[in-house]
């Protein structure tokens, strides 16, 4: 859900009379919400434990059985269903194409003992491409990354992941760009698509992984299709937003020259939206990489495989190394695409490098790369990356670090987990999940109405009705509790670290790479250490959610606070405001748009980790999804849980948007 939409420009209203009025309205609404909660608690005291719609571990409702039966009927029809025949054919073609690419660069092309092109050739070509599309700094980054893939002993897995990512991102562009144009031109298409894209981004992959296998077969084909489902939405949304944002006056000016639709699109809109489109491609690439470990559950090739196989052995070090290589790949692709788009602009403005020199270096690089490819086809040392002890050293070093960390902080961590669990989680969960469903439901609708008006109330009513229908009400309320508590922690972190980063550029410099890492490292890498600290509890799930969600929120807050104009700050300083006053009275209120967006994104990212939470003892909807993924007879329950997660996400998103809109 707008998980990656470009942030709207923060409101730049100067402080004055209007905010004062808004503040009063805000206070009265807060009082109203508290009133609703007070009534809720009062009724709860007399009715708790009734009609909570609790289902035990393997209990199912007729709706779930219907979902399961539908899946079974599709499965039973696989030999005669023309759609499956068709998609299966497509899947086989995919597998063949990726297998061919693998034999080129990552696996032995029998009877050759090695791939057609060895590491030296691939590295040289990649470095050359880095220079050609961006600059020499990117070329160096690419070179260092590729050497790391080899030196740490995961050359072939890294190449596989790159292949799958490139194929998925390439297809995303082919499928996504026309759709982006469509939603930019047709308002109605946009409304329809928003909900569909929300569904694609919030539906847990575990729900559709097995059905996709049914349609596309085991291995690379399913990996690509699953990646597409998850990675396509950011591109459509962001590129659509970019095309739509091309200013009307520009279009009018060029229209007056009598251009056709096609000319207008290709000569004006797409070039002018280019930077936003690159952001979209960039986000799509990151989303694609985050599917790496999930795809390895169905034999999808790539760096996710060693991560997963280390997890089943509780081998922390064995998971950390490939996990960090995924981070490295993400950073490399992120920086390269960004630099490439910036370079395009520089060149367009005539600020690029001297074209003659550039051409010469390009030519030389090309020859060098060609020679490297040639050599790597002939000699074993250039074909197969020489073995190094780095992998084992890094693994045992990570093991030792993690062991030290968990030993040192185990006690503190346990205390923290208990404090949050007993102090916040349990009381909130008692109210939300132990209330009769009609009580919790009406209270939530009432709160939405107070916070966001009619639109929010309607959204809440529809989504809660859906939850009731799907039959996992009790689990949904527990997941909602955890999501809210985790989002609260995310926002505390975002405010503290975001403001700090905005005020000190040295802090920004140190934290940013760590935030990038938190966003791109597969959760399976840090599950074991987090479990070692907190045990299988809801708090562990919350920590996993915070690790994943906080970086995005922190960055949004930092960028928002940084965007507050220097002039305003100086004005407030001249009146003798303390640092604390400056932050709370000027910077934060003026960055409000970014804070709202940070909370919204934080919430949805936390919810996206619900399934991981189910794997570390948090139970609720996440567990139900994993159950449906693991036992074929429970698929219907898993699907219902997945849909419930989608509904929770849409409800929270819509209510928050309406509430933010309401305050302006």
């Amino acid at each position: 859900m707008a998980a990656t939409t470009a942030p709207p420009a923060p409101a730049r209203a100067e402080p004055g009379a209007a905010p004062q009025e808004a503040e009063d309205r805000g206070t009265s609404r807060l009082l109203l919400v508290l009133g609703v909660v007070a009534v809720w608690i009062l009724v709860w005291a007399f009715t708790k434990g009734q009609d909570t719609l609790t289902l035990s571990g393997r209990e199912r409702t007729p709706v779930m059985d219907d979902l399961g039966a539908f899946r079974d009927s599709v499965l039973a029809s696989r030999d005669s269903n023309p759609l499956i025949q068709l998609t299966y054919g497509v899947g086989e073609a995919f597998v063949a194409a990726i297998d061919w690419l693998q034999r080129m660069v990552s696996i032995p092309d029998f009877p050759r003992p090695v791939p057609q092109i060895g590491w030296l050739g691939v590295t040289a070509v990649a470095t050359f491409v880095g220079y050609a599309i961006a600059n020499w700094r990117i070329a160096l980054l690419v070179l260092a990354s590729f050497l790391s893939f080899g030196a740490f002993g995961y050359w072939s897995e890294a190449m596989d992941l790159l292949l799958v990512t490139f194929v998925a991102v390439g297809l995303s562009v082919v499928i996504g760009m026309p759709l982006a144009v469509l939603i930019a031109y047709r308002r109605r298409a946009e409304t329809v698509f928003t909900n569909l894209l929300d569904l694609m981004q919030t539906m847990p992959t575990f729900v559709y992984l097995l059905p996709i296998v049914l349609f596309f077969g085991i291995g690379a084909s399913t990996a690509v299709v699953c990646t597409l489902i998850y990675a396509l939405p950011p591109l459509i949304r962001i590129a659509g937003h970019g095309i739509k944002s091309v200013s009307a006056s520009t279009l009018e000016a060029t229209d007056s020259a009598g251009q056709t639709f096609w000319q207008r699109l290709t000569k004006v809109q797409l070039p002018m939206a280019r930077k936003t489109i690159v952001v979209g491609v960039n986000q799509t690439t990151m989303a694609a990489l985050s599917m790496a470990t999930i795809a390895s559950f169905v034999d999808g090739p790539g760096l996710g495989k060693p991560v997963l196989s280390a997890l089943v052995k509780s081998d922390v070090g064995g998971a950390v190394v490939p996990g960090l290589l995924i981070v490295l790949m993400a950073v490399m692709l992120d920086r390269a695409t960004t630099a490439a788009s910036e370079r395009g602009e520089l060149v367009a403005r005539g600020h690029g490098p001297d074209p003659r020199v550039h051409r010469v270096v390009l030519g030389a690089g090309l020859v060098l790369a060609a020679v490297a490819v040639y050599v790597s086809r002939l000699y074993p040392w250039a074909a197969e990356f020489p073995g190094t002890p780095l992998r084992d050293t890094a693994a045992s070093w990570s093991d030792a670090t993690v062991a030290w960390f968990t030993d040192t902080f185990g006690g503190v961590a346990g205390g923290l987990a208990d404090a949050v669990s007993y102090g916040l989680l349990n009381p909130m969960q008692a109210l939300l999940a132990e209330s009769p469903w009609w009580l919790a439901g009406s209270a939530l609708v009432a709160i939405s109405a107070v916070a966001g008006g009619v639109r929010a109330a309607v959204a809440a009513l529809v989504c809660l009705g859906g939850l009731r229908f799907l039959g996992l009400w009790h689990d949904s309320m527990i997941t909602l509790t955890m999501t809210l508590v985790a989002t609260l922690m995310v926002m505390v972190l975002a405010l503290v670290l975001g403001v700090w980063m905005a005020r000190r550029s040295s802090v920004d410099l140190v934290l940013r790479p760590l935030l990038d890492m938190g966003q791109t490292i597969p959760p399976f890498v840090y599950l074991i250490p987090v479990l070692a600290l907190f045990g299988p509890t809801r708090f562990t799930a919350i920590v996993a959610g915070v690790i994943y969600a906080a970086p995005a929120a922190i960055k949004l807050v930092a960028d928002g606070v940084k965007g507050v104009s220097q002039g305003t700050l100086e004005a407030s300083r001249s009146t003798g405001a303390t640092t604390w006053q400056e932050i709370t009275k000027v910077q934060l209120p003026m960055a409000k748009g970014s804070l709202v967006l940070a909370a919204n994104q934080g919430l949805l990212y936390v919810l996206a980790m619900a399934v991981i939470g189910g794997m570390v003892g948090a139970g609720a909807l996440g567990y139900d999804v994993v159950l449906g993924f693991s036992r074929s007879e429970e698929w219907g329950k898993g699907a219902a849980a997945g849909l419930s997660i989608v509904l929770l996400g849409i409800m929270l998103d819509r209510v928050m948007r309406a509430a933010a809109h309401h305050t302006h």
Partner: protein, 328 residues
């Protein structure tokens, strides 16, 4: 400056090309390619390919790679190991993507869908692996040593408070397992009148971490676990006795009040492959070993950090007589 750089690059290019040209004939890659091609032509491809599903637990890996290694070495098969969850593996029988599931813990729903008679007949039961799954309620060794009476379910209520956690709502916590396993613990707890609440760990990794942490910090913990499992080499969990299993006592999931039965682990294969006449069919059919055998290979993988292929190769070399028996 830039010109110099360019010159330097050209020098490198020249050097590289010279190197490449002079050593052209004797490339070992070329030699090996020829050798591989010749070897393939000689083998005649009687076995062909064997698609081995690899489900995500170490014991399974041990079975899969030992059988795969023998198939490769003795029968000249090309073994494709495919990392898959159970459901996907069974789905793959019908499409030819999977030939063998080498350790099955019982999937009544999948059997109904894919066995002859009730389903489409794409899967066939190929008999026991010789491994016996012992499912039950386990506690960490320190707890069994300190409070031996805890190993009888009748005494569990006495300690219920000690087992309470932030997750268990005031009752004792019983740690349920990875949802891949059939579990009746909620019913057993309530039907035996135990003051416990089942909290699901949600994954094998989470259960293992919990037991390791409980042993290290001397915490009370009871949960669902099973043998054979590599963890026992490091942490010999103790089994709590429940009312013994009798035939039929688990038929109605809501009324279960007895222990889990010993589970005979089975081999499930693709029907089409089983009828293909490949020499690997007899190997898989004959394959049978003990829990000790599997535990040893699992230990090589999980404790000694060997790759599954290396661990299997080591065991195969150490146990020629057992391997011989499978080849018939």
């Amino acid at each position: 400056m830039l010109n110099q750089l360019t010159k330097a690059r050209w020098a490198v290019v020249a050097a590289c090309s010279a190197l490449a040209l002079t050593a052209c004939g004797g490339g070992t890659i070329e030699q090996q390619t020829e050798e591989n091609a010749a070897a393939a032509a000689e083998a005649g491809g009687e076995c062909g390919e064997l698609n081995m599903a690899v489900n995500p637990w170490v014991g399974y890996e041990a079975n899969a790679y030992v059988v795969g290694t023998v198939a490769e070495r003795e029968l000249g098969c090309t073994v494709n190991y495919k990392d898959l969850k159970e459901d996907v593996s069974w789905q793959g029988f019908g499409t030819g993507e999977v030939d063998v599931v080498i350790e099955d813990w019982g999937h009544p729903d999948l059997e109904k869908k894919f066995f002859e008679g009730t389903g489409d007949g794409s899967a066939t039961d190929f008999g026991p692996t010789g491994n016996v799954g012992i499912i039950g309620w386990y506690v960490p060794p320190w707890l069994a040593a300190e409070h031996p009476d805890i190993l009888d379910y009748k005494n569990l209520n006495k300690y219920a408070e000690e087992f309470a956690t932030s997750e268990s709502g005031g009752l004792g916590q019983f740690l349920g397992a990875d949802p891949s396993y059939v579990q009746f613990d909620e019913a057993i707890v309530s039907n035996l009148g135990l003051d416990f609440k089942v909290v699901f760990s949600g994954s094998e990794a989470a259960s293992i971490q919990a037991f390791q942490k409980a042993e290290e910090n001397k915490e009370f913990l009871i949960g669902y676990f099973y043998e054979p499992q590599w963890l026992f080499a490091e942490l010999p969990l103790e089994k709590v006795s429940l009312p013994p299993y009798e035939a039929g006592c688990q038929d109605d999931p809501a009324k279960v009040a007895c222990d889990y039965p010993e589970t005979e682990l089975k081999k499930i294969v693709s029907t089409e492959w089983a009828e293909s006449g490949s020499p690997s069919v007899d190997l898989v059919k004959n394959f049978s070993w003990t829990n000790e055998d599997q535990n040893l290979v699992a230990k090589y993988i999980s404790q000694e950090g060997m790759s599954p292929a290396d661990a299997a190769a080591r065991w195969v070399e150490e146990n020629p007589d057992k391997v011989e028996a499978w080849l018939g």
